[in-house]
Point group: C2
DNA sequence: CGATTTATTGAATCGACTCAATTGATGTGG
DNA sequence: CCACATCAATTGAGTCGATTCAATAAATCG
């Protein structure tokens, strides 16, 4: 269960009090839904109601053009919050869909009001989450604009691996990896065929082992080099060090 | 002077009180700097100190790879705030540079603390600004990942034109346009040469008139079509209508 | 006014795409 | 538990959008 991942992630940035933990725990337990793979959680045009906290499973944020071209603009991993304060806006400008079966907690506007009123550390933690998500989105812009296919793919894999590790969701050099090549294509702006060839390149260079929904990164440093990956944008600079230890 | 643009922009979303106006006015007047064109306001790796409010001129947010490849990930127009609460983070993961000469107000951490403590409408307005900036960044991801060169360029021009109009910075169908083709190349992920050819295409289709640092959009609807532009992500849905009138 | 930046044009090349077919997994019902 | 159906991954061949390199023209600036 991955309220733990959320707290672990937030705590590498701010230290939360027992009360803060309790508040988050209660919010995450209140309205939980279990969704199958490949369904929409919210759709472009919807009126935003709740903020979604992913407790288990993977999801993605995507946008689509009328002619069907589709871009995944973000992945959500367990412990990720979809859009803090999204209910401020009138309507969604994008959709959120599940990749695997997902457990999601719906966080109400009232919860955020409560937090804003009396839990400044959580407010700070949520701002941190928001700023990091913005940084990730910028890095994706960079990724699509400047990196070659294999750099781009290596970069994306580094990011996912590090984000999973931050949530305590890796086993040494390996992690679950439920994305299909079609998902990777939608995220990297490449064609499915080229994604396939790009992955083969990375495999041939012994940068990744990817099969059966599992990713192994034998040498993260080399994969980072291949992707021109600089982790600064993930802003894991605080207590992050100590967490690295128990991997 | 473009505190007006900021207020105009925020007010099409939340109605601010006279006190709110005064607070913003004071903050924007306190520490103002005038910078020449083509210099950095902040650099990647810096410790974030203040939040920057662009009072006049254009700037951009950019990231660079070691080998020199450069991606502009956002443009800042008069009235734009660079990163609300950025001082939460340890260090900048990108740089901000001027394009034209710029007047910038440095907003202190204390200002944001004051706002958080006693000016809920401004807090909401700042969240709105933050969420819209995130939406813009997502749309750029989409733009780079899915649109062809000419769609991409048309889309970018639509966005800039609409954002300028929202700040009251257009004259009918025209606006200032200080970006060079090299800037457009860095923003669209295209080569300079191809930017040139793409602009010629748009000119040939009578979608734009662009010369001498001025852009004219004879038919915004057609340009939007050409760029597969859906303005929903700018979230101008509120009092926006009435503002359109006095253009 | 010359110097430098910005814009434009041409030609050759290449990275990534499309189309099309095949192989390999995964999953479901009889 | 196998057989079939579907979805995911792989391979080959030909094409095209966008790139690079290189040179010239036009603007802008001190």
């Amino acid at each position: 269960m991955s309220l733990a991942s959320l707290i672990r992630k937030l705590e590498q940035f701010v230290r939360l009090s027992p009360t803060d933990h309790a508040i988050l725990g209660r919010a995450a337990a209140e309205r939980v839904r279990h969704l199958p793979a490949r369904v929409d959680i919210v759709r472009e045009g919807d009126k935003p109601r709740d903020v979604h906290l992913i407790l288990a499973g993977w999801a993605c944020r995507y946008k689509q053009l009328e002619d069907g071209r589709r871009q995944v603009v973000a992945f959500f991993l367990p412990g990720d919050i979809c859009d803090v304060n999204i209910f401020i806006l009138r309507e969604m400008d994008h959709s959120i869909g599940t990749i695997t079966p997902v457990s999601v907690a719906d966080l109400s506007r009232e919860f955020f009001d409560t937090v804003a009123a009396g839990h400044p550390r959580i407010v700070t933690a949520f701002w941190w989450e928001t700023l990091v998500n913005a940084a990730i989105q910028r890095e994706w812009t960079m990724n699509l604009g400047q990196r070659t296919a294999s750099e781009r793919m290596a970069h994306l894999l580094c990011e996912i691996f590090l984000r999973l590790r931050l949530g305590g969701l890796t086993n040494g050099e390996g992690c679950d990896f439920p994305l299909t090549q079609a998902d990777l294509a939608d995220a990297t702006g490449l064609s499915k065929v080229h994604v396939n060839r790009t992955l083969q390149e990375l495999r041939a260079a012994d940068l990744i082992v990817l099969k059966g929904k599992t990713l192994v990164v034998p040498d993260l440093g080399r994969l980072m080099q291949a992707g021109l990956f600089n982790p600064n944008y993930l802003h894991m600079e605080h207590e992050g060090r100590q967490l690295d230890a128990n991997e």
